[in-house]
C-alpha cells in the first residue's frame, strides 16, 4: 500500500537526516521504527503522513484516511476535549452528532481524567496525549502513524493503546509507530525496522516475521497471607498487559523479558501461580486473559 522509494531528507543545507530509505507497509502490518533520539524517526513519520516532502525520492500510495498521533500534544487551546474531537470528526466528514458520539466512546475507553468538557489547555500531558490518540481514530484509519505513543500515557492506557493498534490492523489498516525502546517495539509490532545514521534497515532477530512470543504469568497473593507490594508492571521491559483480578494479576510479557518480570514479582512478595505460553492471535490473547481472571 504505502511505499517509500529512495527517500532522502534534509532541511535546507543541513545534514542528511534520512538517506535512500526504501520502505513498504501493507494493510494489516504493524511496523515499528526504532532508533535513538534524533535518529530521524519522527522525520520519517512526517514524510509518511505527508506533512513533509522528501528532498529526493518519493512516497507513494498514501491512503485518504490517515490517523496521525504526534509525540507531544501540548494543547493550549480553550476548546474542550469533546468539542475539539467533534470538530476534528466534522473535518473528516462525519456529522456533528456522529463525531460527538464516536469521540465520547473513545474518551470513555481511554478513561480521560479531567473531564471531557475541560479545556484542552487544562489537561495534563498524559490526558492531552489521550485526546491526540482519540482524534486519530475518529474515522477508521487506513494508515495509523504514531510517534512514541507509549511515552506520556499512564499504565492503564497502555493496554487500550495496544487494543487500538490491534483493531486497526485487524480491520486491514496499516500501523507504523516509533519507540526508542526495542522491547516495546518488538512486543507490539509484526515487523521492526531500525534507523541509524539516516538509514533504515529491517531488524533481524526473533521478532522478524511475526509478533514476538509472549508468556502469560498469573501472580497471586501468597497463601501465607503476606501483602504483596505494588509494582508498576508496565515500567518493566516487555510487559504488554497487566490485568488485575481480585487477588491476582495476569501479566503478558515478552518471553525474553519474562525472567525479569518473575524476579521483580517474587521480590515484591507476589506468588507465581502459573506461567503459560498462549496463542499469538489477538483474539486468543484476550480470551485467555479473561479465563485466568
Amino acid at each position: 500500500m504505502l511505499r517509500c522509494e529512495s527517500v532522502s531528507k534534509r532541511y535546507g543545507k543541513g545534514r542528511w537526516i534520512l538517506q535512500d530509505v526504501d520502505l513498504e507497509v501493507s494493510g494489516g502490518d504493524v511496523l515499528a521504527l526504532v532508533g535513538s533520539n534524533g535518529s530521524g524517526k519522527s522525520t520519517l513519520l512526517r514524510l509518511l503522513v505527508g506533512l513533509s516532502q522528501p528532498t529526493s525520492g518519493r512516497v507513494m500510495g498514501r491512503p485518504r484516511h490517515i490517523g496521525w498521533v504526534p509525540d507531544r500534544f501540548t494543547a493550549h487551546e480553550r476548546v474542550s476535549a469533546l468539542s475539539y474531537l467533534t470538530h476534528m470528526g466534522r473535518i473528516r466528514g462525519l456529522s456533528g452528532p456522529a463525531a460527538r458520539a464516536k469521540a465520547g466512546r473513545l474518551l470513555d475507553r481511554l478513561a480521560l481524567v479531567g473531564g471531557r468538557d475541560a479545556a484542552l489547555r487544562t489537561l495534563s500531558k498524559g490526558n492531552a496525549q489521550k485526546v491526540a490518540l482519540a482524534q486519530a481514530l475518529l474515522v477508521e484509519p487506513a494508515l495509523l502513524v504514531l510517534d512514541e505513543p507509549w511515552s506520556g500515557l499512564d499504565a492503564s492506557a497502555h493496554g487500550v493503546l495496544a487494543e487500538f493498534i490491534a483493531e486497526v490492523s485487524a480491520a486491514g489498516g496499516a500501523v507504523v509507530f516509533t519507540d526508542h525502546r526495542e522491547a516495546i517495539a518488538e512486543t507490539h509490532a509484526t515487523g521492526v525496522h531500525a534507523i541509524s545514521d539516516g538509514r533504515v534497515s529491517p531488524r533481524s532477530g526473533p521478532s522478524q516475521g511475526g509478533p514476538v512470543t509472549e508468556v502469560e504469568v498469573v501472580l497471586t497473593v501468597p497463601v501465607t497471607g503476606a501483602v504483596p507490594l505494588e509494582v508498576n508492571w508496565y515500567a518493566l521491559p516487555g510487559v504488554t498487559d497487566a490485568s488485575r483480578g481480585e487477588n491476582a494479576i495476569v501479566l503478558r510479557v515478552a518471553r525474553e523479558h519474562s525472567d525479569t518480570a518473575l524476579l521483580t514479582a517474587l521480590q515484591h512478595h507476589w506468588s507465581v501461580e502459573s506461567l503459560t505460553r498462549p496463542g499469538t492471535g489477538h483474539a486468543s490473547r484476550s480470551g485467555a486473559r479473561r479465563a485466568a481472571l
Binding site: Q53, G67, W68, V79, R90, I91
Partner: protein, 218 residues
C-alpha cells in the same frame, strides 16, 4: 472546508485574539469619521484604510494561534497543507465581514451623511479590497514563513507602507486616491470593482507563494 473554517473560527473566538484588532478598527473609525459630513466615498476610504491594518493583524493572529504540533494534526485531518491554508484565509475573510458591517454603519452614527445603496456597495467593495490585500500581507508574514515574530512584524509594517504609498501600483493606493477625489459613490463603483478583483488576485498570489515556501520548508 466549512467544517475546517468553523473549527478555526471557534478557536479564534475562544482565544479572544480578535478583540485587539476589532477595538483598533472601531477606534480608527471613531477618530477618522466622527463629525464628518463630507461625501461617504471619502469616509469609506478611511474605513478601508483601517480595515487594511486590522486584517493583517487578524490574519497573523489566526495563523499563529496554533503551534506546529496542533497544525500538523489539523493538516493530516484535513488532508493537505493547502486546504488548511485556504481554510485559514477563508476564516480571516469571515472575521473581516463583521468589521466591514461596522465600517459601513458606524460612520453613519459618528457623522451626518445621506446614505444611498451605491454608498453601501462602494463601502463594501472598498473595505473588502483592503481586507484581501491585508490578508495577503498577513499570510506572507505569518508563522508559516517566519518562525520569529519580530521579523514578521517588521516585514508586515514595510509591506503595509508599500501598499499604502506605492503610487499607481498598489490597488490600495489607487483605491484610496480614487475615493478621496470622488464626488459621488456611483462614479467610482466600476473602478473599485476592478480593484477588488485585482486584490483578490494579489491574495491568490500570496497564498500560492506562502504554500510553496511553507511546503518547501516542512
Amino acid at each position: 472546508m466549512i467544517a475546517l473554517v468553523r473549527y478555526l473560527f471557534t478557536v479564534m473566538l475562544l482565544s479572544q485574539r480578535y478583540l485587539a484588532p476589532l477595538l483598533l478598527f472601531v477606534g480608527l473609525l471613531a477618530v477618522l469619521t466622527s463629525s464628518d459630513s463630507g461625501p461617504l466615498a471619502a469616509t469609506y476610504g478611511s474605513a478601508a484604510g483601517g480595515m487594511l491594518v486590522c486584517s493583517v493583524w487578524l490574519t497573523m493572529g489566526l495563523i499563529g494561534l496554533e503551534d506546529q504540533t496542533h497544525r500538523s494534526v489539523v493538516v493530516v485531518t484535513a488532508g493537505s497543507h493547502l486546504r488548511v491554508l485556504l481554510g485559514s484565509v477563508g476564516t480571516a475573510a469571515l472575521w473581516c465581514l463583521p468589521l466591514t458591517a461596522a465600517g459601513l454603519v458606524l460612520p453613519l452614527l459618528f457623522g451626518s451623511h445621506t446614505f444611498t445603496f451605491a454608498d453601501a456597495v462602494l463601502g463594501t467593495e472598498a473595505q473588502l479590497t483592503c481586507a484581501f490585500t491585508g490578508i495577503a500581507i498577513g499570510v506572507l508574514c505569518s508563522r508559516l514563513i517566519f518562525r520569529r515574530q519580530g521579523y514578521a512584524l517588521l516585514l508586515a509594517l514595510v509591506l503595509l507602507l508599500a501598499v499604502l504609498l506605492a503610487k499607481g501600483v498598489s490597488p490600495v493606493n489607487v483605491l484610496l486616491g480614487d475615493l478621496q477625489s470622488a464626488s459621488g459613490s456611483a462614479d467610482v463603483l466600476g473602478s473599485t470593482s476592478a480593484l477588488l478583483a485585482i486584490s483578490a488576485g494579489v491574495l491568490a498570489a500570496a497564498v500560492t507563494a506562502t504554500h510553496a515556501i511553507s511546503v518547501r520548508r516542512s
